[in-house]
Subunit: 303 residues, 2 copies
């Protein structure tokens, strides 16, 4: 049995359009309506045919839906919830894909009517690109999707949403929102913060020109530029919404960096060698568990 | 005309074996001899047939060569030079591929006989893997190779080495060794240092398990694990040999990180947004100049 028969997607960018495409691919009989605040995105989404109907108002997109997925930046979730509240069908399941889970459940409960089952979620999958053209149906294959309900959340809604994400090829995990935010601070938010920083540092150097940075980026730097090319609005919202956990992780990172700095300053080759040997094991596990491409250099083309 | 007719490669790992394969592919009539300190590597290199002859002593590998390329870790360069000194032919060109250029010219001049032309070099290309099986002929295609001769270096030798790297598909640049070390500190050494650090930080967390770090690594963390899986000996040597420039760049990075930390702490969304918007341009240039894969996610497979 299909978990839902008519879904509505609010926000038709990378994640929203990928969900639409994945539903088409894996549950072709499910009806899809969509809405985006940006008229150009609506037009493009309609052109691409990723939904049966792209509506001009948020309300019109949700009236018939038995599941609504909010795919807007974290800072716009509450507003997006408010905009659909009056038009939701009774018994509808509302979920989201925001990268921070903290208070989203409370925020949505505050703006949505009582008959609505709310199950916050976060598919840990993405690319550096944004917008409806960047999406693709396989984005969630073998990736994890974390759901963060609480004890008040209706069990049926959690089950259906799990089934939904499984159908799209994802593995589903249920987690406490606070713990989600701590885990993602390490595996996603801190890496982005560091990448944005080093790309900024390299651009601002006077002794090394920007053209040199670009020419010799294959030495390692280019790896960081990918995630530092991610959407500024999305990431501003993530750091503001997950401030506490991000600052805590940053503190840890800075301490470790200081230790390494000391090792370099005092020519402690053994300390360097030991750390550099330890860090290999994690990559091996990531590849063994299918969370990265096993080919060297991420499978980059060499021709 | 071919720049060299019989080359010798000392150190048959990733870079040495890639040079051998690239010479076979692009200059098939050139003779190749090779030597490696590790008997297992010698055996494997012979099995792979990447050289015409893999010898059991460094001296035997160089006697007939008109060019010798040292492809050993930075800390082993001097020793590798010493080991071949007595057997070099008169007029031979000796080069290397070490990732730090600092004092290599002086070091090699100190151990090699006067009739030898020394041209230090560094191909800015690699993968996270090591050893003779990891090499491939296309590694240097459209990558930059930096040569760092000084005013005493014979012009003919620089020209021949430039021609050699061009034949392997590389773009060649001549640079002052001090400047090379500063540029590479930004584009390669600091990125590796940061990647090693964050992978270490994530492994040592108590509040987040290692299994969680692995499962949710697709949020960004996995990008860092690739370079943090690079060879520990090579990287220990790089940091010890390029201490000054690395510490200077690390200082810059830490300052920028502190500014970003403040912006998060004080909810300064505009400062975050501005930095995150600036950093996109560099990736675009890197892709425009063919220094990274233009496909999203480095072209990783999604299936
Ligand atoms: N990108 C990733 O890797 C990734 C991974 C996992 C989860 N996420 C989460 O997924 C969500 C969407 O990210 P994305 O990458 O898909 O972003 P995206 O490609 O920029 O798409 C977001 C779309 O939502 C629209 N929007 C903004 N406010 C809206 C509102 N109130 N009502 C309707 N539409 C609105 C935006 O229009 P405007 O451009 O006009 O604002 C934009 O078209 C974010 O919460 C993000 O944290 C992202
Ligand atoms: N990897 C990269 O991305 C990259 C890029 C550009 C430049 N480089 C530079 O290229 C050089 C080689 O790196 P690689 O990645 O090719 O390393 P690799 O795959 O580990 O190969 C190096 C080989 O040299 C051998 N060796 C060590 N000392 C020797 C000696 N005195 N005489 C003969 N052989 C010796 C090693 O044997 P043992 O294992 O027994 O020590 C090993 O088989 C380094 O200087 C590095 O800085 C590397």
């Amino acid at each position: 049995m299909l978990p839902f028969s008519r879904i509505s997607i609010i926000g038709l960018g990378l994640i929203g359009s990928s969900i639409a495409r994945a539903v088409r691919a894996h549950m072709p009989t499910v009806g899809i309506t969509g809405y985006d605040a940006d008229p150009a995105v609506r037009e493009r989404a309609a052109e691409l045919g990723i939904a049966d109907d792209v509506t001009d108002t948020p309300g019109a997109a949700v009236t018939d839906a038995d599941m609504v997925m909010l795919c807007v930046p974290v800072g716009a979730m509450r507003e997006a919830g408010e905009a659909i509240a009056a038009d939701l069908a009774d018994g509808v399941v509302v979920s989201d894909v925001g990268s921070v889970k903290g208070s989203i459940l409370d925020d949505l409960r505050a703006v949505l009517p009582p008959g609505v089952a709310i199950v916050p979620g976060h598919p840990v999958a993405g690319t550096e690109n944004s917008g409806p053209d960047a999406g693709f149906a396989q984005l969630f294959h073998n990736r994890w999707c974390i759901l963060t309900p609480d004890e008040r959340t209706e069990a049926f809604a959690v089950e259906r949403l799990s089934a939904f994400w499984s159908r799209l090829g994802a593995n589903v995990e249920v987690m406490d929102p606070k713990h989600h935010d701590l885990v993602l601070a390490v595996t996603s938010h801190l890496p982005h913060l560091i990448a944005y920083t080093i790309v900024g540092t390299a651009s601002d150097m006077e002794s090394v020109t920007r053209s040199e940075v670009i020419k010799y980026s294959a030495g390692g730097f280019r790896d960081f530029t990918r995630i530092a090319a991610s959407d500024p609005t999305m990431w501003r919202d993530v750091f503001l919404a997950n401030k506490e956990a991000v600052l805590e992780m940053l503190q840890r990172f800075t301490e470790d960096m200081t230790a390494l700095q000391r090792a370099i300053r005092w020519d402690d080759g053994d300390a360097l060698f030991n750390l550099f040997s330890r860090t290999r094991a994690i990559r091996r596990s990531i590849i063994d568990q299918g969370q990265d491409d096993a080919r060297p250099d991420f499978g980059r083309a060499h021709d």
